[in-house]
């Protein structure tokens, strides 16, 4: 039986190697929490760092150990969060889905420039030079640092300023941290509300030269709001999304048309 020899030889090798591996696996075993693997599988896996940990694996480890709250991942979907709660054995927590919002509408045809710089074209670098190349010191510079930072492809630059594709945005907040002008902010996705697409604290009279899409602090919106949700401070209107009912009165009154709907009131797919 010629077949017998190879079968026996290979079988013996398999036996010996299998034994060695079996012994090694027991001797060198590392205790891992089985919940960590389950949580890790539920995280998005984009390693965006929005949670503050060094990647999804580190976040899962922290959640499983109890070093991080169950909702540590800002980019997680509601269903996945429910499952993580189940894995960790805690009560279900509702997650408020958020999306990024660009608080500037100073596109190339609206905003005026202070200088033109021929050199490094990143927001961080330009922002370091007299607060940016636009006359408005609070403007979105439109060189795309946020676009590069986004792990979900939810940002793009259009007509000189950033644009968020809210369908793709998971609300991880990395772009908010990246923007050197702090023009981006997270707004809840599930509500009906309005927000001001401007960050400029410059006086109304000056805005004529600075940017045609800038908030002039006229307070027409504040007067129009029946719920006290709109406040003008430092020549800039701000809407409290908690108080806002989404009636849209402020948006109608705004002479610059820079109050737009967010969340369920969003007109277009981008904000």
């Amino acid at each position: 039986m010629e077949i017998l020899i190879p079968v026996i030889v290979l079988g013996l090798i398999g036996l010996v190697m299998g034994s060695i591996l079996a012994v090694a696996s027991k001797v060198f075993q590392v205790e891992t929490d089985p919940r960590e693997e389950k949580v890790s599988a539920l995280l998005p896996g984009a390693n965006c760092g929005g949670c503050g940990f060094a990647g999804c694996a580190a976040c899962a480890a922290a959640i499983a150990k109890g070093d991080a709250p169950v909702a540590a991942c800002p980019g997680i979907s509601a269903e996945a969060l429910k499952e993580i709660c189940a894995v960790m054995g805690v009560n279900e927590q509702e997650k408020t889905p958020m999306a990024a919002f660009v608080q500037c509408n100073g596109q190339l045809d609206k905003a005026n420039f202070r200088y033109f710089f021929d050199g490094s074209k990143t927001c961080a670098d330009i922002a370091a030079l007299q607060q940016g190349d636009k006359l408005c010191a609070y403007a979105c510079l439109g060189y795309g640092d946020c676009v590069q930072a986004c792990n979900f492809g939810a940002l793009s630059i259009e007509n000189g300023i950033a644009k968020v594709h809210t369908a793709d945005c998971v609300g991880c907040g990395v772009c908010v941290k990246t923007c050197p002008k702090q023009v981006l902010a997270l707004m809840p996705k599930n509500i009906e509300a309005y927000a001001v697409k401007c960050s400029s604290k410059d006086k109304g009279a000056a805005m004529k030269e600075i940017c045609s899409a800038g908030c002039i602090g006229c307070k027409l919106c504040e007067k129009a709001c029946a719920f006290g949700a709109v406040k003008v401070e430092n020549n800039l209107a701000k809407i409290d999304t908690q108080k806002c009912t989404g009636c849209g009165a402020c948006a109608e009154k705004c002479p610059k048309h820079i109050i737009v709907g967010i969340g369920k009131k969003q007109m277009s797919s981008a904000s």
Partner: protein, 140 residues
Amino acid sequence: MDKQNTVFRMIFTLVAIAVVVSVALAFVNAKTEPVILQNNENQLQESLKSVIRAEKFEILSETEQETVYAAKNGETVVGYCVVNSQKGYGGDVKVMTGVDTDGKVTAIEILEHAETPGLGANAEKMRLNPNLQAKQKKLV
């Protein structure tokens, strides 16, 4: 998956795979071995024939370093083929030399080499150099 990593399962899986694998290999080997041997034999015969024109070849002597064939037409010996190897640049160079009954070299064929293509490998293109002096070879 931790239930899976028991000592029994680990050993059993590897042994099972080893057994199945060896049966499969033995089967394929049984089918291909005769063909491979035939291929090798054909190649050898081809080389021998290209070096000395004769009907059949018999092994006269065979050592680690050198094999000598007697080339025969019928029962008369018309020449000899010596196969040996020397160190080349990229490894051993296996050469077959045909010698006729006067001791003159009839042809040289390179069987195996590991030389650089375009440089040492060009030796393959070289056939017998007519100016080559044949040394008398003492044959056992």
